[in-house]
């Protein structure tokens, strides 16, 4: 038993490490799951795709087939519904989404695109 390093014997160091890991885990649990904006694409309530906006390397189109076909354009930092076979075109007219809390919905096709993440705009809901 070495008494030359009174505070940091091997066994104590292990306890410190364990404590550090536990603290780190506790810390991570309290962190928002994703601070960066993430686009969530859903069809009929089922998640089709979840992608961090800043990690999209190049423009990509996603075609969701169904009775009413919807085309979504994923670009670095933004997402939009660029085509829908629906009659009202509300989803296409919604334009480009860039910030958490924003969403575009195609009711006839039951497709939604929304951005989740740390909500800097502080908006909880929308009426109208």
């Amino acid at each position: 038993m070495s008494s030359r390093f009174p505070l940091f014997r091997k066994r104590d160091l292990l306890i410190f490490l364990l404590a550090a890991v536990l603290a780190g885990a506790g810390f991570l649990q309290w962190l928002p799951k994703s601070g960066a904006p993430v686009a969530v694409i859903e069809q009929d309530g089922k998640e089709i795709r979840r992608v961090e906006l800043s990690s999209i390397p190049q423009p990509e189109t996603l075609v969701l087939d169904g009775e009413i076909s919807v085309t979504i354009l994923l670009e670095p930092g933004q997402v939009s519904i660029i085509h829908s076979d629906c009659p009202d075109q509300i989803c296409v007219n919604t334009g480009t989404l860039t910030r958490p809390g924003q969403s575009a919905v195609c009711l006839p096709a039951r497709v939604s695109v929304r951005i989740v993440g740390e909500n800097n705009s502080g908006i909880d809901g929308m009426t109208g």
Binding site: P6, D12, I15, F16, A20, F27, W30, G125, G128
Partner: protein, 354 residues
């Protein structure tokens, strides 16, 4: 070192104590920095022809969201006239015959519908079906039914034809040809159904949006008011016209931009005036109503749009609601005690006490 002065067990426990202190400090620090994850549990579903979004905070959030979603589906299966076998479909089929016993939820919604119809002298009218089904705004291709048809069916519309008895949960429509359409109150009633589930669950706070109707319950993790963006009728952008802050209750909007179609030189919107059978012309573009009940806020939003600003004020006062009116001149009138933060600079704002 002398073993007698510093026994190894003391050093060991010093180390353990140190580690525990560090651990607690780290967890405490992270809790202070992130006073709970800012993201609640989110669920999106579809019902009542609408996109439904819930964001719930606290324990059992997922369970509460699932229960709220089923509660809304159950409600739709009771009060939608389009659902075969629903209470309202049965009531409409039995028009002009006998009283029917209905589910108490259906009776509740019918009672709320009648209370707004009476308070607004029929500006909101749940018996609009003979006219609303002519225009058929919810179909893919609504068309102008023509004045002859409108005049032919207009006499069948009138909330006095709908009678309910809350003692034995029965209702009747007086004449063959009468019909109930709860489209103007259903989304708000769905918010009420969800809020009821939230109250009985263990969640700390939650928000539900059924189409343009929004209901809030409890507290957000940071303790601030719920912030609800009001859509800018001019633009389909995401920024909105401004933000309403709400501690509790519900908010609904009726706007002439929601469902429209153009035929010839005319553009028609879906907010039908039960007195004329035509889309209402009151100089308004949209009305947003705040009330503790979602059903009342939803029905009142329609009624106030049809009544126009002046005639709405006494009704809002009577029913304990407040509202935000947007008119065709880009003027916003805030009636009653509402906390509103303007964002779009394209509008002028004034306040009106009730």
């Amino acid at each position: 070192m002398n073993k007698n002065i510093a026994p190894s067990s003391i050093k060991k426990w010093t180390a353990v104590a140190g580690a525990v202190v560090i651990l607690l400090a780290a967890i405490l620090a992270s809790m202070v920095l992130y006073p709970q994850s800012s993201q609640g549990y989110e669920a999106t579903t579809w019902a009542m022809g609408s996109y439904i979004q819930q964001t719930l905070y606290g324990s059992s959030a997922e369970e509460a969201a699932t229960q709220a979603s089923s509660a809304i589906n159950e409600l739709e299966n009771l009060i939608s006239w389009r659902v075969a076998g629903s209470d309202i479909e049965k009531l409409n089929s039995a028009a002009g015959t006998d009283w029917l016993e209905l589910d108490e939820h259906t009776i509740d919604v019918l009672e709320q519908a009648l209370s707004v119809a009476e308070a607004t002298d029929g500006a909101y009218d749940p018996t609009i079906l003979p006219i609303s089904s002519l225009w058929n705004f919810d179909s893919d291709e609504p068309t102008f039914p023509g004045d002859d048809k409108i005049q032919e069916f207009l006499p069948f519309v009138g909330y006095e034809f709908l009678r309910i008895n809350t003692e034995d949960n029965t209702a009747s429509l007086r004449n063959h040809g009468n019909g109930v359409d709860l489209g103007g109150i259903g989304k708000g009633a769905a918010c009420d159904a969800a809020l009821k589930v939230y109250k009985e669950s263990g969640i700390s706070g939650g928000i539900i949006a059924v189409g343009g109707s929004v209901g809030v319950y409890g507290e957000k993790p940071d303790g601030t008011d719920w912030r609800i963006s009001v859509r800018d009728p001019d633009e389909d952008t995401q920024d909105g016209l401004g933000v309403l802050s709400l501690e509790e209750g519900c908010v609904s909007t009726s706007g002439s931009y929601e469902k429209t179609f153009t035929e010839g030189d005319n553009t028609y919107h879906h907010l039908l005036d039960a007195k004329t059978g035509y889309p209402a012309e009151s100089g308004l573009v949209s009305v947003t109503v705040v009330h503790e009940s979602g059903a009342i806020s939803d029905a009142l939003a329609t009624a106030c749009f049809i009544l126009g600003l002046e005639d709405s004020l006494p009704v809002l006062k009577e029913l304990g609601a407040s509202a935000l009116f947007i008119d065709e001149e880009h003027h916003i009138t805030i009636a009653g005690d509402l906390e509103f933060e303007q964002i779009s600079t394209n509008y002028t704002v004034s306040r009106q006490s009730l």
